[in-house]
Subunit: 210 residues, 2 copies
DNA sequence: ATGTAAATACCTGAAACTAGGTATTGCAGC
DNA sequence: GCTGCAATACCTAGTTTCAGGTATTTACAT
């Protein structure tokens, strides 16, 4: 079934039906091999200790760790793994966040199977696949800077995890760092942004499309 | 391809990838025939002038006409057509709305292919398929906008105050009630909406424009 | 009148957050 | 070589939230 010349692919989505569908769509193709699939993000990092796929297909919104944080963590540990987001969201800030997290591509779930297959091949060949209008978006962001640029990538990652409802302890587990470190990041975020409570932090996250 | 003893099925979902996946999942089965599929609800009623399927699979949230309204209209004109909802939402009030609209079943998108096939056969045989454990469902994290109607005015007031960064003690002062009462309201809100933390509560407030 | 929902209030223990620190390592820029 | 930032880690003390209860009053509807 699996051969050396096949692309190894991970698929991560908390909708099992979407996974079942993707498996059937991808197994039609001789050059794809689904190395593994997951219905939540937490197990993915562990699985990478055993198998290094060529590409990971991720959803943005998942229970537990969100797709963007997962992408950043994957890229930090294994920069050679390509990441393609397939999400029901199509807002420009979501797409931009995926790009910033280091993903090679973004597709909406309204895409069809042919586009997905095509995009996977492009990304593995080294291309990046985003909707054309992201260039404009990035220029906009430069023209209208906000205090979000005070934050490091790690800090933004932690904000997203807080926003998803994770406690400091859970975040520490997900990122494989100490709970103390997470608390330090929190304090630094508060200081940089002039916040005093979690509610203000989450308000900031929403207002800035994190 | 199509035979008289096959069940004629319509599939309606605005995520083309979900459609592509469902087509492959269902075409594995000899007793199913996908009579037609649609990525929005508007064309469905028109198509019913030419073909009357045994069952229609619907998403709740779609662009154009939403799934529940479509279900009501289908049932009004063709009460013999069975309807199965497959949705990313799992809130009990959403399921209840589907039931009220006359649907024979509801499945979350976290279900797997085997469950879907099984459910389709049950429904066509005349059974109805709803999840029994709606209490557990309410603990899930996905929030549906109409959940807000579960809340009393006082509860919404307290959510707004929490969102503004107030602690239970401050809210108690503002409303001239006991801090214990605020905590009770908080717990009731969590229970009604299936939340477990303040961050989720604030996320809810944002998503619902509170 | 009986049941249900809303709003109120109290108690406790455990978990999580907030705020004040200190401190080391590594890396990029001047 | 020095500076500054990012990321890491630890400590303590105090505050707040979270989860399990119980319980009373008012009010509205079947």
């Amino acid at each position: 079934m699996k051969a050396m010349d096949q692309y190894q692919i991970f698929v991560v989505d908390d909708h099992q039906l979407f996974l079942d569908g993707m498996i059937r769509i991808l197994e039609d193709e001789a050059d794809f091999a689904i190395a593994a699939f997951f219905n939540n993000g937490n197990e993915v990092l562990h699985a990478l200790n055993r198998t290094i796929p060529d590409l990971i297909i991720l959803d943005v919104q998942m229970s537990g760790i969100d797709g963007i944080s997962l992408c950043e963590e994957v890229k930090r540990r294994f920069p050679e793994i390509k990441v393609l987001f397939i999400s029901m969201f199509e807002q420009s800030n979501v797409i931009l966040n995926c790009k910033t997290a280091g993903a090679e591509g973004f597709l909406p779930k309204t895409s069809d199977a042919a586009i997905v297959k095509d995009t996977i091949r492009k990304i593995i060949r080294g291309e990046t696949v985003y909707l054309k209008n992201t260039e404009k978006l990035e220029k906009k962001k430069v023209i209208f800077p906000t205090s979000i640029f005070l934050l490091s990538n790690r800090e933004k990652e932690i904000i997203r995890l807080i926003k998803s409802g994770n406690t400091s302890k859970t975040i520490a587990d997900i990122l494989s760092i100490s709970e103390y470190t997470v608390q330090t990041h929190r304090k630094n975020i508060f200081k940089k942004l002039g916040l005093v409570s979690m509610s203000e932090l989450i308000a900031f996250a929403y207002d800035n499309g994190l």
